[in-house]
């Protein structure tokens, strides 16, 4: 049996510690040791981003980090977005703008979005698409995800965040990079 290692980190502000195998992936630590199953696994080559969490504020693919590498770190997952019963503006944006369908990529997508908006409060569409380019979605075609993040940006800047009317075409002025 491999010797275990003791790790202690915070997840959404709560301390979690355990004796674990050094090879335990951070995503499995989050899902199975901490019991937070909102972070998902979608691939095995660090390609899809469904496992994205924030480690000390930086988006990280938790399938490609060992839990021991996050020892002492502050990890943020989707479960920590809602505060005091109030949805985070990013969550609100995804709800208003139909930014999710099956929901599987959504936690990772939203964590990437929160990190983006923390460093770039008013991102352009090109900047949004660049930031989420490491998060694959098969359902939405990304258009409404972009709108969801734009909604969140407006809301976080205090502007009145009105959802774009459904079924209106986006028109030629909104284009990818």
């Amino acid at each position: 049996m491999t010797a275990t290692q003791h790790v202690k980190l915070t997840i959404n502000g709560q301390a979690v510690e355990a004796d674990i195998e050094p090879r335990l992936l951070l995503v499995h630590f989050i899902r199975e040791v901490a019991g937070l199953t909102g972070t998902h696994i979608g691939c095995d080559t660090t390609s899809c981003g469904a496992c994205t969490v924030l480690v000390d504020g930086v988006p990280a693919k938790s399938c490609t980090l060992l839990a021991v590498q996050a020892d002492g770190a502050a990890v943020a997952t989707v479960e920590g977005l809602e505060q005091g019963g109030v949805l985070h503006p990013v969550q609100e944006g995804f709800f208003q703008e139909h930014g999710l369908q099956c929901g599987f990529c959504t936690p990772g997508m939203m964590m990437t979005a929160t990190a983006l908006l923390a460093r770039t409060p008013n991102p352009s569409e090109a900047e949004i698409r660049q930031a989420i380019s490491g998060n694959l979605c098969r359902c939405t075609g990304y258009v409404n995800i972009v709108k969801s993040i734009q909604y969140a940006a407006r809301k976080m800047q205090g502007a009145e965040a009105v959802p774009v009317a459904a079924s209106a075409s986006t028109g030629a002025e909104v284009r990818s990079a």
């Binding site: 899809c48 479960e79 709800f95």
Partner: protein
């Protein structure tokens, strides 16, 4: 509780925000890998590196010696219980675990059950399988040669030819071709692709030895059909099997078949009496299941010199891999491919498809193909463009010339389909206007003169969805009706249980909207449940865009049964005769006295407290809906591309999609389906293909090589609609989930060919990769260094 008078009804046509979102947004979705049951064990699978090999021996001793490993299951173990083989949904049979030979790379060879996920993963590397490799056959044309390796020696007919299927009138078609002024031919290969929903497949199988009951949480789009199949195979009676589809992270058809992993996990659970979890890695998923397409097509189109199309002839070789496990309706081994005459009024058509075995994993009808309509539409839309190019006609003009006119619906096609409704010219005109077609053609001419490569591609498709009428459609003998059961509670809210299964399409919202509209109850007071075979009425599941056409119709009809009873109660409450009561403005009103009215909520309360004497209490209904026909959504797509002469990259500058799916329940959700569908149409057009080398190795074993579109490649789709209701559907709706994946690839392919047509390019097979384009540019001496 919301006061009924205040809460909005928001039935048909409202962009109601989704009722399923609250849990997904909070990371509280319940996907199969989130399920943890007491005592649960983990299963992992040893897979064959060879596409074709004899199994000489399996030595599991080192694995069994690993602490935490409880069992190793091989084909020999299953064979002893008569379970080494299982039926496929297509009437073929498939190995669960092989006894003596493997027939595709990544085939399941043995399974390990262990106390922990990581131990199971360690254990599979410790199982020594001694293989004697055999030559694989990876090409269906070679597989049809007499000296080809035999993929399926278990079958009576010692051939790799599975079946032959035909539709249309060969003689009439031949005559039309003989008389034709112009004949265009086109070979197309539509490669195998992989659906790659972000969640892979998996299950938790849990057999309770005390109750004798098997519960399986499974990524399945068709839980009832699975339950029946499992009952037939295992001998456990159906009332002792419960299949539960939890939240599913994308299906798109890849989660319809019964994969060996589910069966092995079930057997393991039955034997051990504890829950067994099996979740595929992405590499396993990418290499072993969830495939689509793989059609080799030869098409011919007979026309007049003026561009009038007369007849179509199509011959197809369908590569089905080692087992025919495509989940098509039983009389349609090539799915609905005979829709290949498309949106055009042809005099005659003849379609032939031959299914062939190769040493690949089972091919399938995943990836939003709508039962092979993607293949059919790609064929007709490409060959129509080929004809236009040959005759030097504008591709929009040739389409207008040949559309089935709006006044000819219902339209009987040369291959026997009765299209319910359509207005193709209106959709195409709307798309042309929206994209600014004439201006784009002018721009193209200017750019071409300067050596810039710009193309415009059109696709005007007719889809065929909503399988299907019982006289023609069944899967393994089970008719393809669907169902809804509605119960209205005393205080005016309701629960709806349906036989279909969402994997992201928003059924918890849209089906509530149907009931809201039909019963005048606020949508927020209606709960939709599905996916649990213990409680949901029997349905055939969600795939091929069938939910709204079948279960949606059942929901409306069940609602109307409730309304019929409610009307009697209303008459009783209003002290009027039933003939004097009408349903208007979401109320039961006395005709001519609109002030005398009662709401459905008042009726519901009365159904439990004050129903007429002699009438049963309660307010509920069930409907099993047998659709009288399929529905035929359609659309017109226009794609504008610019080709990079330095890299061969195809950049989609604009994509206008005009869709017609009849009456729309939730415009926001429909738009989302179109966006996603277009992206899954672009992917095979430009990026995705699953290929094998001659030794049978898959060349795209991980997401490093199988490239899904990201936010960077995906354009800002422009969507619009026309509305041509279905005359036979209870609320005039058609399906829509796959339309965009059907219509988009030929629009893109046509655009690229259009960009290169002045060089003499007449066709390009998808995926149109940068390398393909760059090679052509080099050939013509116009590639930029």
């Amino acid at each position: 509780m919301t006061t009924p008078a205040q809460a909005p009804i928001h039935g048909m046509g409202h962009s109601v925000k989704r009722k399923e979102d609250p849990r997904f947004l909070r990371g509280r979705g319940r996907y199969v890998d989130d399920i943890k049951l007491p005592g649960m064990l983990y299963m992992d699978i040893v897979r064959s590196p060879y596409a074709h090999a004899k199994i000489v021996s399996i030595d599991a001793s080192k694995a069994l010696a690993l602490p935490g490993v409880l069992a190793v299951i091989t084909g020999k173990d299953l064979d002893a219980a008569g379970l080494a083989w299982m039926p496929t949904l297509m009437g073929d049979k498939q190995m669960v675990l092989p006894v003596d030979r493997v027939v595709y790379q990544a085939q399941e060879v043995a399974a390990v059950v262990a106390t922990e996920r990581y131990i199971a993963a360690d254990a599979i590397t410790l199982i020594d399988v001694d293989y004697e490799p055999l030559p694989p056959v990876m090409d269906p044309m070679k597989a049809l040669q007499p000296d080809a390796p035999l993929v399926r020696p278990d079958r009576e007919q010692k051939t790799n030819h599975i079946w032959h299927w035909e539709a249309g009138d060969a003689a009439k078609t031949d005559a039309a071709f003989n008389a034709a002024e112009v004949v265009v031919q086109q070979d197309l290969y539509i490669p195998r692709i992989h659906v790659s929903s972000i969640e892979t497949c998996g299950c938790v199988a849990s057999f309770d030895k005390v109750e004798g009951k098997l519960t399986i949480y499974m990524t399945t789009q068709a839980p009832h059909a699975i339950r029946t199949v499992f009952s037939l195979v295992s001998g456990i009676p159906e009332h002792k099997i419960r299949v539960v589809s939890p939240d599913i992270g994308g299906g798109f058809g890849g989660k319809v078949p019964v994969y060996p992993g589910y069966v092995i996990a079930t057997v393991a659970s039955i034997q051990t009496g504890v829950p067994i979890k099996w979740i595929e890695d992405r590499s396993e998923n990418l290499q072993a299941d969830s495939f689509a397409r793989d059609y080799h097509i030869h098409a011919e189109l007979a026309a007049g010199r003026d561009g009038t199309m007369h007849a179509l002839r199509v011959k197809t070789i369908a590569d089905h891999g080692a087992f025919d496990a495509a989940a098509n309706p039983s009389k349609f081994p090539a799915g609905l491919f005979s829709i290949v005459t498309g949106s055009y009024a042809l005099d005659a058509a003849h379609v032939e498809v031959d299914g062939v075995y190769t040493n690949k994993p089972s091919g399938g009808v995943a990836y939003r193909c709508s039962f092979r309509v993607t293949e059919a539409v790609h064929t007709i839309e490409r060959i129509v463009d080929a004809l236009a190019q040959q005759l030097n006609m504008d591709p929009a003009e040739i389409r207008f010339k040949n559309f089935i006119p709006p006044d000819q619906f219902p339209y009987k096609s040369p291959t026997g389909w009765e299209y319910d409704s359509g207005n193709y010219p209106a959709a195409l005109q709307k798309a042309l206007d929206k994209v600014g077609y004439q201006e784009l053609r002018r721009e193209q001419a200017e750019k071409r003169a300067r050596g810039e490569l710009m193309g415009i591609g059109i696709s005007t498709f007719t889809e065929i969805v909503g399988a299907g009428p019982s006289h023609t459609f069944d899967i393994l003998g089970i008719k393809m009706f669907d169902s809804a059961e509605i119960r209205v509670h005393p205080t005016g809210s309701a629960i709806v249980r349906i036989g279909v299964q969402t994997q992201g399409q928003g059924h918890e919202t849209t089906f509530a909207q149907i009931v809201a509209e039909e019963l005048g109850l606020p949508v927020e007071n209606i709960t939709v449940e599905h996916g649990d075979t213990d409680t949901a009425p029997y349905g055939l599941g969600t795939y091929a865009s069938r939910s709204t056409p079948t279960a949606g119709a059942a929901t409306a009809v069940a609602s109307r049964k409730i309304r019929d009873k409610a009307k009697k109660i209303a008459a009783h409450l209003l002290e009027a005769s039933e003939d004097d009561i009408e349903w208007a403005d979401y109320k039961f009103q006395v005709k001519g006295a609109p002030g005398r009215a009662v709401t459905m909520q008042q009726v519901a309360f009365a159904a439990y407290t004050n129903h007429p004497q002699g009438m049963e209490a309660g307010l509920e209904a069930v409907d099993y809906y047998d659709p009288p026909n399929l529905t035929f959504p359609f659309g017109a797509y226009i794609c504008v591309v610019d080709l990079d002469r330095g890299t061969g990259e195809v950049k989609i500058r604009r994509f206008v999609a005009v869709d017609d799916c009849g009456n729309i329940i939730n415009p926001m959700i429909v738009e989302g389906q179109i966006h996603g569908g277009l992206t899954m149409g672009m992917a095979p057009a430009l990026f995705e293909a699953i290929t094998y080398d001659d030794d049978g190795n898959i060349q795209q074993g991980s997401f490093m090589d199988y490239l899904l579109p990201t936010s960077m490649e995906t354009p800002a789709w422009e969507t619009d609609k026309t509305t041509t209701p279905s005359p036979h559907h209870p609320f005039g709706a058609k399906g829509v989930g796959e339309s965009a994946t059907v219509g988009a690839p030929p629009a893109i392919a046509n655009a690229v060919v259009d960009a290169l047509s002045h060089l003499g390019v007449t066709h390009l097979d998808i995926p149109i990769t940068p390398w393909k384009v760059y090679s052509i540019l080099q050939e013509h001496g116009i590639a930029e260094a």
